[in-house]
Amino acid sequence: MQTDSGDMSRVVEHLAQVEGVAEDILADKQKLIDLDRRRNKTREAMRILQKDKTEEKKWICFGNMFIKVEKKKASRLLEHDFDEIEKEMSKTRTELKPKVNQLRDLEHKEEAKGFNLNPLSDSEMKAVKDLL
């Protein structure tokens, strides 16, 4: 009986670990989706400001507050936001990889092949593309 409960607790511990890592991955994926949504909204806003020919101050909604700012300043703010979001997304993506590998390791699956390779450049890819 003693060994049984020992095995049991080991199984539970292992499952908890797997679930923990999986949860983390899912959270990151959701984060990517949210970031992309914000990125698209920011992009739309930038476009609208770009197309607008008037020189008045604009209403902008930050969080849940409307602020009236100058057009130039508004587009600068948006551009800054956009860059930040892009940076955050690529950071999240790079962090996601080791986590997925960790999960596969815990599940005793083989490491995903070629996961850690650096991508070929565009011109190199074009050369290889013919045979794919």
């Binding site: 197309k51 070629g114 996961f115 390779l117 991508p119 565009d122």
Partner: protein, 478 residues
């Protein structure tokens, strides 16, 4: 198989429709039978985690030691320049073991299988053919990374300028299950959207770097938009997650494929000739250095594969010395050879050597031998083959077939399965029984009965005298 009588149509008591249906059925069956290879039932080596061979597993039966050895070989695949020789009498599962190894390697590991005699061709030298086979067995893993926008088209709005000429502008609304957004369209994008005939309800991907648009299909939610669809209409789910995704695709290409692409001097000509002919050694050197560069930059991984040369005794002494040398390069795959010869002459020489392979090459090889199957194992294999070929067979018939297999050869008895099944269907039976086996046994001769027959009736065959006279001629020449 029932055939139409010559010059007449096949009449069936069931009437026209039934007979047509049956004929269609028959035609289909025949093509299917033709498509089953002799080793199609093999799914792997049938080893457990501790590399112990199970008696019957993944289509493999018996040959426990040879299979265990093959499993060990797969484990050491990382070390370049290893070579293995599988030696055994005909029909003892040499090719089956090689196939099992290929299956166990998975689709990502290159596996090339050639027969020894394949390298003798007028189009290219022997060493060129061998080099190509070697390079077909080395994979290079590379990664492609693209940013794509993937979503369902909610709306396309294109504004034509009032004057009729000038730049068009437009808007494209895309959505995934999570979000929706509007893109402003420029002239270029409008043109390619029109060219691809993209409309609301399509699922598209847009490559961010090149702006290339690919239509994946129509959204399921739009399945009822029209009553009649073109045959190519494909319905897909609305994509999930982000609209703008980073797509990473890992490809494994073989060195030979890269060689071929780069040795094409006049583009499309090579496409039509099919055969690429010889590849210049400069091209190969260039590619080797490029791949080495990629490896240093972390852009590529080398995937050593397996080259299987069946009937290796068909190679001649020059090929063997080439193999000796080629095994020493750092990009050599695992070389597996199979032969059914004992001590015999090495091709191209007068010297005798075990397996028809020179001693210096033999010295580098790990030799795995296969032994003849026992009765129980033959029965098991025949049973597996029956399942593979969808043949129902009674136990008695299987026992009889096993006896035939013991007395003649495993190959012959496997051949009889399909033939017996056809006889059985001709008499509209559902299960092959002993009589069917007896019938095909009398219809088709095995090798020893055929030899017996020839010995008895040799005098009555055509060209018998000519054969003798040729022998005499030959004697005159020497």
């Amino acid at each position: 198989m029932s055939l139409c009588p010559p010059g007449g149509t096949y009449k069936h008591p069931g009437g026209m429709a039934a007979s047509t249906a049956e004929k269609v059925q028959e035609v289909r069956e025949v093509t299917r039978i033709e498509r089953i290879g002799a080793h199609s039932h093999i799914r792997g080596l049938g080893l457990d985690d501790a590399l112990e061979a199970r008696q019957t597993s993944q289509g493999m039966v018996g040959q426990l030691e040879a299979r265990r050895a093959a499993g060990v070989i797969l484990e050491m695949i990382k070390i370049a320049g290893r070579a293995v020789l599988i030696a055994g009498q005909p029909g003892t599962g040499k090719t089956a073991i090689a196939m099992g190894m290929a299956q166990a390697l998975g689709s990502d590991t290159p596996f090339t299988s050639i027969a020894g005699s394949e390298i003798f061709s007028l189009e290219m030298g022997k060493t060129e053919a061998l080099t190509q086979a070697f390079r077909k067995s080395i994979g290079v893993r590379i990664k492609e990374e693209t940013e794509i926008i993937e979503g369902e088209v909610v709306e396309i709005q294109i504004d034509r300028p009032a004057t009729g000429t000038g730049a068009k502008v437009g808007k494209l609304t895309l959505k995934t299950t999570e979000m929706e957004t509007i893109y402003d369209l420029g002239q270029k994008m409008i043109e390619s959207l029109t060219k691809e005939k993209v409309q609301a309800g399509d699922i598209v991907t847009i490559d961010k770097a090149t702006g290339k648009i690919t239509k994946l299909g129509r959204s399921f939610t739009r399945a009822r938009d029209y009553d009649a669809m073109g045959p190519q209409t494909k319905f897909v789910q609305c994509p999930e997650g982000e609209l703008q995704k980073r797509k990473e695709v890992v490809h494994t290409v073989t060195l030979h494929e890269i060689d071929v692409i780069n040795s094409r001097t006049q583009g499309f000509l090579a496409l039509f000739s099919g055969d690429t002919g010889e590849i210049k050694s400069e091209v190969r050197e260039q590619i080797n250095s490029k791949v080495a560069e990629w490896r240093e930059e972390g852009k590529a991984e080398i995937v050593p594969g397996v080259l299987f040369i069946d009937e290796v005794h068909m190679l001649d002494i020059e090929c063997f010395s080439f193999l000796n040398r080629a095994l020493e390069t750092d990009m050599a795959p695992i070389l597996i050879m199979a032969t059914n010869r004992g001590i015999t002459r090495i091709r191209g020489t007068q010297y005798l050597s075990p397996h028809g392979v020179p001693i210096d090459l033999l010295d580098r090889l790990l030799i795995v031998s296969t032994k003849p199957y026992e009765e129980k194992e033959i029965k098991q294999i025949l049973k597996i083959r029956c399942e593979e070929e969808d043949v129902e067979m009674s136990d008695d018939a299987l026992t009889v077939l096993t006896r035939i297999g013991m007395e003649t050869s495993l190959r012959y008895s496997i051949q009889l399965i399909t033939a017996a099944n056809l006889v059985c269907r001709k008499r509209k039976g559902t299960e092959v029984d002993v009589d069917d086996i007896k019938r095909v046994y009398s219809l088709f001769l095995d090798e020893s009965r055929s030899t017996q027959f020839l010995k008895e009736y040799q005098q009555e065959f055509m060209f018998n005298e000519v054969g003798e006279s040729i022998d005499m001629l030959n004697e005159c020449f020497y």
